[in-house]
Subunit: 384 residues, 2 copies
Amino acid sequence: MSVVRLASARAAAPKPAANTNAKPDWLDTIIKGDCVAALDALPEKSIDVIFADPPYNLQLEGDLHRPDQSKVDAVDDHWDQFESFQAYDAFTRAWLLAARRVLKPNGTIWVIGSYHNIFRVGASLQDIGFWILNDVIWRKTNPMPNFRGRRFQNAHETMIWASRDQNAKGYTFNYEALKASNDDLQMRSDWLFPICNGGERLKKDNGDKVHPTQKPEALLARILMSSTKPGDVVLDPFFGSGTTGAVAKRLGRHFVGIEREQAYIDAAAARIEAVEPVDAATLKLVTSKRAEPRVAFLTLVESGLLQPGAVLTDARKRWEATVQADGSLAHGGEQASIHRMGAKVQGLDACNGWTFWHFESGSGLEPIDALRAEIRKGIAAAGA
Amino acid sequence: MSVVRLASARAAAPKPAANTNAKPDWLDTIIKGDCVAALDALPEKSIDVIFADPPYNLQLEGDLHRPDQSKVDAVDDHWDQFESFQAYDAFTRAWLLAARRVLKPNGTIWVIGSYHNIFRVGASLQDIGFWILNDVIWRKTNPMPNFRGRRFQNAHETMIWASRDQNAKGYTFNYEALKASNDDLQMRSDWLFPICNGGERLKKDNGDKVHPTQKPEALLARILMSSTKPGDVVLDPFFGSGTTGAVAKRLGRHFVGIEREQAYIDAAAARIEAVEPVDAATLKLVTSKRAEPRVAFLTLVESGLLQPGAVLTDARKRWEATVQADGSLAHGGEQASIHRMGAKVQGLDACNGWTFWHFESGSGLEPIDALRAEIRKGIAAAGA
DNA sequence: AGACGACCTGAATCTTGGA
DNA sequence: ATCCAAGATTCAGGTCGTC
C-alpha cells in the first residue's frame, strides 16, 4: 500500500484501462464529495466489501445531563439530522443503490447502526435486493449508562452483513480462520469490544474529539478478517475519521473512502499515513478481557434455580430473607439487592451477597454462589 | 387467576359493562381465530403490555393479505422477492395497527424476531407511530450451529420494546428492581438465556415438539418483570405454546392469548392450567423513589425536625445556608428552595437539595434526606 | 516509583406532577 | 394544551495530579 492520495470525485471518474494491471487512481484514496455522486463516479463491480457507518438519525430534543450535572456531548451534527423517516429512507435507498452498483457480484456489504436507523436500513437493503447473511451484534464492554433510569442501558449496536444478491454464493467468508481464532468454536453473531477511547481516539490540539462516532479498530479488524482476503478492495462511503482505511492498510487490503468534510479527510489521511502494515498472519483477534461473565441474581429466579418465596439465610442462620420475583430480597418489610440486604442486616456498609446468602440444598446449607456457578457453566460456551 | 377458558373471537366481543368491577370474559383466556379479527373484537385501550412473536416465514401466502390478489406471472426472482416482502409488510402493518388500538396509552409492546423479519417489523412499528424504547438482544447460550460454515453462527434474536406514542412517558419500567437484581448495576440491552429445551419443552406423545419456536420462560419472565406490574394484562397475539400465558399466570399477571391452531390452544391451555402462581408477597417490586409520597421541606420545619435558623452545609462544608421559617434556605442575602439554593451556590443548573444539604446530627453530618425518610416512615405507619 | 483518588467522557431518541 | 418547579439519576475506563 502506497501513500494516501486525495482525489476529488471528478478526478476519480473511471478511465478506460489501457493496462489492466495498472492500479486505478482512486485506489487507496479518500474521495471528497457527496457519497452518491462519488459512488456514481466509480466503475461498477469494482469493490469487494463495503463497510458503511451512515448517519443514525438520532432525534434528540433537549440537553441531557449526567447525575453530577455535567452535560453529555451529544451527536447533534447537521449531517445526522433528517426531517422524517421518509427523508431518511430516501437517503438510505439512494446510497445503497449506488453502493450496490460498484459492488462485485460476489461482494458483500456491512452496515452498522442503532435502533434509531437500523430497521430502516435493513428493510431498504432487502427491498433493493441485497440478501442478508447475518445480523451481528457489537456488545460494548463500556457503554454509556442510561442516566435517567427510564430504559435499559443501550449497550450494543447492530451490524447487518449482506451479499449483493440472494444467489451470490461465492462471497468471501473465512470460516476456518475465524473458528481457529475462537478456541475452535464457530464465530458467533455477538461480538464483545470496548468503545473507541484512550490513545486510539483521535483528538484535536484542544483535546476535543476529531469525530463524534469514531469506531474501534478491533471491530473493523474482525469485519475485514472475516469477509475479505488480502489485496481486496474495501470501500467506506462515510469515511469519517478513517478507521476503515487504517485497518485495511494495516491488514494488507486496499481501501477507498468517501467523505464530505475536509477536517475529517485531513485527520484520516494523516492517520492512515502513519499506519504500518503488518503481516496478516500475526494479527490476533481481540478476545474478551473479562474473566467471569456477570450473572444477575434475577437470572437464578428466572431460570427456576430459586423460586420466589424461597428463604435464604447466612451461613450461621442468624438472619434470613425471602427471594422476591423481581430478584430482590425481602426482610423486615424492606426490599433490596442481595448485596444491600446483606449489608443492611449486618449493619455494614457493603457485603457480597453471593457468598453471604445461603440456601438449603439436599446436602446442607450452600451459598447462592454455587447456583451462579451452575449458570456460568451453562453460559461458558456463549463467551463472556 | 382462575381456570383457562377458551373463547372464540366472536364470543370475546366486548359487552357493555354493567358492573365495571366484573372481570371481562376475555381475560385469562385463549381466543381462537385470526389475530387481526380477534384484536378488533377486544375493547380499545384495555391491554398493558403486548408480547408478540410473529411468524416470519413467507410461505403463508394464503394467510397474508396481498394488496393485489391477482396472480403475477413470469416474475423474476427479484420481483417475486419484493412482492413477498410487500405482502409481509402488509400483514405486519395490519396486526400492529390492530394491536395498537387495544393498547392502553401508556402500554408498551415487545416484538421478537430474527434478521429475516425484524427489520421490517421495526420499520413498520416506527411508521405506525410506535416509539422504540430499546432493542434488546437475546443471546443464546446454546444456539444451533451453522452447518454449512458459510456464515456466522446465528446466536441471538432481536426484541424491540416500544411505547404506543413518542410522548407516552408513563410506561412501566421497573428500573430499580432490575438494578437491584443485577448486582446493583442497571440492566443492559443484551440478555443471556438458554434456548427452550429439556423438561420445559412441550412434547407430543410421540416425542415431537409441540411448537417449533417455543420461547423459554426465563425470557418472558424478564420481559414481564421489567415492564409490567402485578395485575397487569398481557396480550400475546401469536400465542403458540402459551409461554406468555404460563409466565403471566405464575407472576400474577393476567393474560390474553390469540391463536389459530387448535392443537396449540389445547397444549397451551393444559400447560397454563398446571401453573402454580407464586405467592403474592414475593411479587412486590423494589420501590422506586419516584413512587414514594412527596414531602415538602417545610414539613420538616413544621414538625420540629429542623428549627428555623438552623444552618445546613454540603457534605464537605464548602457552603452553608440558613433554614427559614417558610421552608426556604437563605444564603448571601437571597432565599430559594433547597434545590435552587443548592444549584445556585455550586453554579449549576440543577441540584437535588435533599441529598446535597446536610445537618449536624449527634453522630456527624447527615443529609436532610434522612429527615425526609423519618417523615415518610410516619406517613407509612398512618396507612397512606 | 507506584498507589490512590478526583475528574472526565462516551452514537442518548433519558422526568413528573401540579397549576 | 403550556408552564414551572420539584427532584431523581451513571458505568467502565482513561487521564492526571498528589502523596
